[in-house]
Symmetry: C2
Subunit: 393 residues, 2 copies
Amino acid sequence: MNDQRVPEPTRGFPEQEFATRTDAAQQAMRAQGLDAILVMTEPEVRYFSGFLTPFWQSPTRPWFLVIPATGKPVAVIPAIGAAVMERTWLDDVHTWSSPNPEDEGISILTDVLRGIAAGSKSIGVPMGPETQIRMPLLDFERLKSALPNHSFIDATPIIRELRMTKSETEIGKIGHVCSLMSTVFETLPNFVHTGMSETDIFREFKKAALDQGVDDVAYLVGGVGQGGLEDIISPPSSQQAQAGDILMLDTGATFDGYFCDFDRNYAFGHADDAVKRAYEIVFKATNAGLDAARPGARCEDIFHAMQSVMDAGGALGNDVGRIGHGLGMQLTEWPSHRPGDTTELNSGMVITLEPGMEFVPGKVMVHEENIVIRDGSPELLSRRAPAELPIIG
Amino acid sequence: MNDQRVPEPTRGFPEQEFATRTDAAQQAMRAQGLDAILVMTEPEVRYFSGFLTPFWQSPTRPWFLVIPATGKPVAVIPAIGAAVMERTWLDDVHTWSSPNPEDEGISILTDVLRGIAAGSKSIGVPMGPETQIRMPLLDFERLKSALPNHSFIDATPIIRELRMTKSETEIGKIGHVCSLMSTVFETLPNFVHTGMSETDIFREFKKAALDQGVDDVAYLVGGVGQGGLEDIISPPSSQQAQAGDILMLDTGATFDGYFCDFDRNYAFGHADDAVKRAYEIVFKATNAGLDAARPGARCEDIFHAMQSVMDAGGALGNDVGRIGHGLGMQLTEWPSHRPGDTTELNSGMVITLEPGMEFVPGKVMVHEENIVIRDGSPELLSRRAPAELPIIG
C-alpha cells in the first residue's frame, strides 16, 4: 500500500447539487412543454440521483429515473438496488423483483409516468447523438403502447446542455484523477523498461495507478510500435518493447465516478527524427488549442486552431474524426472538436485537447490534455506533457 | 511483477470458431426466414468478428455488424476502428469518419442492408430481454425509414441460443480467469487485514488480481459489515474493517474478453453463530445446485434445488431476483436460475450458482461458484469456497 497518497476530495455530492441539477432540468422542461423526463443510462441516472454502483456491468436489468415537472426524481429500479438508491437524496423509490422478462418494470414505470405526466403528456427521453435506450427495444415499445396518449420526445438537448458544464465539485473529482494519473505517467520510467510485453506494461501501469489512489483504470489502450504506433484503440499484445519503439498509453481512470482521459508518449532507448518532429508538432498543436479554448469560442474553432498547426507540420490525416471532446462521468462526452460542431465553450466545461496525426504512412502521433474552460485562460487538469519526447530505458 | 505466473491460454480464436458461429446463426436465420441479422453491442459484434477493444467505453460512436444469409459478416464501423477490424477474419469492412451526428453511419448501413437483404427483406435485430439497441434511437428510426420495405424482427432467441453454449476455447478462457481469481481469494489473508478501509481492500485486491495475470478487474463490489453485509452492489467506502466484520467481495475479472463472476466471504477475527450458520446453509445450497446442474435440467429446477435448502435453513428472502445466471463475454448472461425460467441446461453452458439469503433482518449471505455443464456432473471453474467461513486477521 501507498501511505504517501495525496488527500482525496470528499466523495459524493451535497444534496444541493442534485437539487440544482433537477431544478435546471425542470426549467428546461417547462420551456419545452415536457411533463417528465425518463432517463435510464448509468451517467444519466447517477447525474440526477447520485446512484453509484458498478452493477451496471450486468446487462440483465433496466433502471429507470423519472424527473417530474416539480419535486425530486422518482426511481423505478430492480429490488437489488433499493438499499443503495435509498441512501441517495431521493424519497420515492419503486422496485420490482428483477429479472422478470415478462414485466421488466414496465407496468410500474407506466403507472409512475401516468401519475406524473397528466398535463400535455409529453415525456422527454434522450434519443439523439451519443445516447442510448438502455432497455430492450420491445419493452420500450410496450411502454409506448401502454401510454397511447403520451408522446415521447427527444430530450438529448436538455441533458447535453446540463451535463456539458461541470460544477466545481465535479471539476474537483476530475482534477483529482487527472493529477493522480499525471504522477503515474511521470513516474512510468521507474516501472516500465525495454523487454516488457505490452500486457505486462498495462498491468504495471494499472497497479501504479491503483497505488496512486484511483478507483479504477476503466480504460487503457495503446502499446508499443517501432517508430510509432499504427492504431490507438488496440488491447495489449505479447509484443515486447525494444529499442526504437514508441510507447503510447491512453487512459481513462476514475475517481468517485469521474474520468480523466489523456495519453503520454515515450521512446525506448532512442527515437528517429520523424517521431521527434511529430511529437513537437502535436505539442505545438496542443498549445494552439490552449490558446483558443476561451469562453465563447466554438468547438470547430478549437479544431481549426490545432489542425492548422498539424497541417503546416505535414500531417497526413487522422481517422479519429475529432481532436478532442467533453469529459466527465463518461470517458467521452459531448461536444467534439471537429468541423461543424458549433458548440460554444463556456466557463466550467471540461474538455480534452487531443491533436493527432499520421506523420508517416501508417504511423500516428497523438497528444492529449484535459482542461477546464475558465474566464481567460483554461486551467490544465492534467499536468502538461514534456515538450520533448521522453526517452526511457 | 509476478514471474511465477500460470501459463495463459492462447489469446483470440482460430478463424474456424467465427465461421462456426456465423454458420449456426445463418442456419437459424434460414429457419426463421431472416435475410440478415444486425448487431451493435460489444459482445454481439465481438462474438461474430473477434473485434476486441475497450474503446466501447466511449458512447460517442455506434458500431454495426451485419450477418448476411451466406458468407462472412460485414462491418460498418467508424474509421478509428478500421485497423483493428481489418485484423479480424472479416473481409468486408465499411467505414465512415465518426463522430458525424448528421449521418452516423446510417447511409452506409442502409446501403449494406439494401444490398444484402433483397429476399423477404426481414432483418433480425436483438430487441428482447437483456439486449439493447446501442445506437441513438432517432438513428434507428432513420434506418427504418430509409428501408420502408424491410421489416425489423426480434433476433434475441437466435443470439441467446448461440451464445449460451460455449465452445471449449471459450470455456478455457473463462476457466483461466476463474482459476486466477480463485488464487487471489485463497491468498487474500496475506494482503487484507483489520484496520484497512474498504477502498484500500478493493485496491489491494485488484493489484493482486493483476499480479496473478488477469487483464482487468472490471467488476468488484461488496465490502465489510459487522455481523454481515447489508447490500451486495455498493462501491467501497472509507469504512475500516474491524473484528467481527464480515468481508464479502464479488468480482468479475476478465481474461481475453471473458469474465469470471464469483464471490468469497471472510470474517475478521471472529464471527457470531448466525453468520457461521448462514455460511453453512448457502454452502449446502451450492452443493444442491451442483447436484441438480445436469444436462436436461431446467434453470428453475436449479433454483428450487438451492432455494429449498435455504428455506429449510430459515432464509428470510433475497432481493436479487435469481440465484445464478449465465456467464461468458459479459458478467451476466442469459439464462437465470429463477422460477419460470424453463431454459434447459446442456453440456457446454457456463453458469453461476449464486445462492443468497437474508439470514437476520438486513443482513445477507451470498455464495457463488462458476461451473460448466458437462455430461454427468458439472465441472467447477472456480475452486470451491471453503466449507467453513474463513477467519482472517
